[in-house]
């Protein structure tokens, strides 16, 4: 047998090709402008704010003194908030994955003609405001509410036990609010998995479970990665759930930032907290994506 090699078709006319290349970048302009004005500029501004002299005030103005100690102060008081934020976000992301994966799998492979209906149902919560939905969770988890009473009846919760104002409530809220962000990328990934590959795995002596482990799951990894990122990142910075479903004992770093910005008007502190949170999340994401890229997550 001879080896056949395929080579990509070469652009026959280089002048033509470069002309096409020449104009294509213009498509980037609107998006880049948008990002420059509404993301890059505020971020730089935030960075400078984090280095203002904290003795200034909102009314009198601040002086840029490259006051690095802001960061030390920020960390000193809030390291436990950071820890709690990442723990809550991590647990929520994990539970979202456990709940979202079977759901996405069912929609992709088993829903048949109900596929579109089910997808709409997944995003249906977005039709109502985030705040309103979280507020209504207060009613659901309330001390005299149906969930609490039920759990007390079957003795999972002690009679004086409560759900509201506990970490469970905050994490449950996070899970509920971010589940669609997990489910949709998972669905997109699973829907692309060629069913014939699953059949091929079965043909090659894989039980359904082994076939899932060796073929379906690895092929859905892009969805797992983007789903977990889309859940974990916003969950880290969230403060609504802790605010509405928890107490100061459950506050996350987002609550602290919010308070520093909006209540205390301590801008340098708020800014340095934001920058720290941003850096840690970016670092975690880089490590995570690197790891999953080299298939160590399989």
């Amino acid at each position: 047998m001879t080896q056949t090699t395929t080579s990509p078709p070469k652009a026959s006319d280089d002048g033509e090709a470069s002309k096409r290349r020449g104009w294509g970048w213009l498509l980037l302009v609107p998006g880049m402008l948008w990002l420059a004005i509404f993301f890059l500029f505020p971020t730089v501004q935030l960075f400078f704010t984090s280095l203002y002299d904290p003795s200034g005030s909102y009314e009198q103005g601040y002086a840029l003194t490259w006051h690095v100690a802001n960061y030390v102060d920020a960390i000193k008081d809030t390291w436990n908030l950071f820890g709690r934020s990442f723990m809550y976000a991590g647990i929520s992301t994990f539970v979202c994955l456990l709940l979202g994966y079977p759901l996405a799998y069912a929609i992709a492979f088993k829903a048949g003609r109900w596929k579109n209906v089910m997808l709409v149902l997944v995003i249906a919560p977005f039709f109502t405001s985030f705040l309103l939905r979280t507020l209504s969770w207060r009613a659901i988890l309330a001390d005299q509410g149906p969930v609490t009473s039920f759990l007390q009846t079957i003795a999972i919760l002690p009679d004086d036990g409560r759900l509201l104002a506990t970490p469970v409530a905050v994490i449950a809220g996070l899970i509920y609010n971010f589940l669609p962000f997990m489910t949709l990328p998972l669905y997109a990934s699973l829907d692309k998995v060629d069913y014939r590959l699953i059949e091929a795995a079965g043909d090659l002596y894989s039980s359904p479970f082994t076939g899932f482990r060796k073929v379906t799951f690895p092929l859905s990894l892009p969805g797992v990665v983007s789903g977990t990122l889309l859940t974990f990142i916003p969950a880290c910075g969230d403060y609504i759930n802790a605010e509405l479903l928890g107490t100061p004992k459950q506050y996350m770093v987002g609550n602290r930032i919010q308070a520093a910005f909006l209540t205390e008007h301590n801008y340098p502190l708020a800014a340095s907290l934001s920058i720290i949170l941003m850096l840690i999340v970016v670092l975690m994401v880089i490590v995570y994506v690197r790891k999953s890229g080299t298939e160590k997550l399989v």
Binding site: T6, E199, V215, L219
Partner: protein, 385 residues
């Protein structure tokens, strides 16, 4: 319709694949209709038919990817009808190859062995990659290989498990013509070497005839005819087979006498004959079939054939020169046009449009079919490759 038992095969080599009265319905649509079939161990068996004839469904039933509505499937003495696919001693080369895109070529090929827990899978995989000449590509991903190479990976991935039966679902369909010819020879060589039963599903009659020992021609969920390629070609029993394998001229005749060794026919007033063994109808009207390359055209009145059939009064209506042969269309007195292929031996000049010709062919080269069938059943349009 012809019955589908295989009398020619000698049962008893132990691991024959047997289908007994297998039917598969999808809603109201009958994909496979009461199919009974024996594929002898070690044979190269082709299921040939147009798309939608039930051949792929039959294959998937053997693979365990579809459950038959009725009937049983056996390998040797073991019934596998309701065995899950991963428990069957059967492997498949899928139409689109279905290679695992996230695994390397090596990992693709050893996939089955690792699932079975074979210890020395590494050595076996290297051997197998060597057999299909893909050793240098072991660490690549499927997307980095050409179609022909992917095809060989798919073959290696199935063969390495030493299956009792290897199923091939249009395995060469995605390859270009030249590569397909090459792979046909290669597949046949491998099959002879390792002595595994191959069940090959294809719509390409040439592919089936090149490789298979036995061909079953399927249409509408049933086997129309089964036999060796030459047998099917030379002595088709239905118009579908006559048209689907190669080309046939089908001429309306009346059966005059079917009592002797030669069945006597009346063809628009001219007397012709056909061997009784190749006659598949006994009385009334029939289709007299003769292949275009079996017909010899000669200038009117120049040939006397006592032993052969002779139709006089033809007029050449079209001449196309295709290199190895010249293909004529000859209009007969009653208006029907028949195809005549003449090999380009260079011994005589070709005819021109309007030449008056007589057509002759040996009586043992013709066949007679029941006139109840559609003369155009199974006609393959020319561009269907």
């Amino acid at each position: 319709m012809a019955q589908s038992t295989d009398e020619s095969s000698s049962p008893g080599s132990g691991q024959d694949l047997r289908l007994e009265s297998v039917s598969k319905k999808f809603g109201d649509f009958v994909a496979v209709d009461n199919l009974t079939l024996t594929v002898p161990q070690g044979s190269f068996f082709a299921l040939l038919g147009p798309s939608g004839c039930g051949k792929t469904t039959t294959l998937r039933i053997v693979a365990g990817l579809e459950d038959p509505t009725l009937g049983r499937v056996y390998i040797g003495e073991d019934e596998i009808t309701s065995l899950r696919p991963y428990k069957r001693p059967v492997n498949t080369v899928f139409q689109s190859y279905a290679l695992f895109p996230h695994l390397t070529i090596f990992e693709n090929v050893c996939f089955g062995l690792r699932r079975k827990g074979v210890k020395d899978y590494k050595d076996k995989t290297r051997e197998m990659l060597d057999l299909v000449q893909l050793e240098p590509y072991a660490t690549r991903k499927p997307a980095q290989l050409s179609g022909g190479q992917q095809q060989r990976v798919a073959l290696a991935r199935a063969l390495i498990n030493e299956p009792g039966v290897l199923l091939l679902d249009e395995p060469l369909g995605a390859l270009d013509l030249k590569l397909r010819r090459q792979m046909q020879i290669e597949l046949k060589r491998i099959q002879t070497e390792i002595d595994v039963t191959f069940v090959h599903v294809t719509h390409d009659q040439e592919e089936a005839m090149t490789m298979a020992d036995t061909i079953a021609v399927m249409n509408h969920g049933v086997i129309e005819q089964m036999g060796a390629p030459s047998e099917l070609y030379e002595n088709p029993t239905t118009t579908f087979v006559a048209n689907f394998l190669g080309q046939s001229n089908l001429i309306v005749v009346d059966v005059v006498d079917s009592s002797g060794q030669t069945v006597v026919l009346d063809c628009h007033g001219q007397k012709v004959g056909v061997d009784a063994a190749r006659s598949h109808t006994a009385e009334g009207k029939g289709w007299l079939g003769v292949r275009p390359e079996k017909i010899f055209a000669s200038a009117q009145g120049t040939v006397e054939h006592d032993d052969a059939n002779l139709l006089t009064g033809g007029v050449v209506s079209d001449v196309s020169f295709v290199g190895v042969s010249t293909q004529y269309l000859v209009a007969l007195p009653w208006g029907q046009e028949v195809m005549v292929f003449e090999q380009n031996t260079g011994h005589r000049a070709s005819f021109k449009n309007g030449d008056a010709v007589d057509l002759a062919w040996s009586r043992q080269h013709a066949f007679l079919l029941d006139a109840g069938q559609d003369a155009h059943a199974g006609v393959v349009s020319g561009d269907d490759e």
